[in-house]
Amino acid sequence: MKLPSIILRVMQHWLVPLLVVVSLFLLLRGHDEPGGGFAGGLMAAAAVILVALAETPTEARRLLRLHPTTLIALGLLVALVAGLIGPLTGKAFLTAVWLKADVGLFYFKAGTPLLFDIGVYLVVVGAVSTFALEIEEAAPLAPDRTGATPAKTDSVEGGAPSKS
């Protein structure tokens, strides 16, 4: 089958790591400042959509490693574990438990809200990639329904225009 334009595919190699890094940045600072699991998950899902558009949906599924539905289940499990840490310390369900430490230059602070945000992140990535990949795989792969489009792209890529 015909792959999308070379500009898009080259740009995707640069943009996808950037999107993933910014989404992790949004996830990790989410409990104190704007951001959080939902916004970060949407950015990571945008990276998946970009791969599915620039390469193929199969390539996007290979990059995800896990099936999107598995990601949803994993995220819900992580969120449930984050909620159950509260009862273990003798407080109510979903109580925030913080772990703070002063490690030299850094002030390290992590807790169950971060764990809950990671769960939300996984659920959002899984759900949005499920929607996008299903829609993309159901779509026709080549623009063969209209007669004019393949001839135009042939002349751009191959040099000599084909006869069609």
């Binding site: 945008a46 970009l50 558009l53 026709p140 489009t149």
Partner: protein, 86 residues
């Protein structure tokens, strides 16, 4: 002095959004309208940055960053829809 610079920048930005909205309304074909919409989106990133400066909220710059990364994908999906259909 800094206030005047911000006002002039906002004036120029408003003018350019007006120009791209003109193309959005008038544009004969659908790709014209998509490109005009993308242009207006990129200009609105500069609106966010100017507002971040004048309100003194540095956090708005992150919003501009994220929007700049994501508006590109929106136009990409629109172009793919026009090319192949949903």
């Amino acid at each position: 002095m800094a206030d005047q610079i911000v006002y002039i920048a906002l004036l120029i930005i408003a003018l350019s959004i007006g120009i791209s909205m003109f193309r959005f309304v008038k544009g004969p074909s659908i790709p014209d309208r998509v490109v005009a919409f993308d242009t207006a989106g990129i200009i609105s990133i500069s609106v966010i940055v100017v507002l971040a400066h004048s309100f003194g909220r540095l956090i708005y710059v992150d919003v501009a960053l994220v929007y700049g990364l994501l508006s590109f994908i929106g136009v990409l999906v629109a172009a793919r829809y026009l090319d192949r259909g949903l």
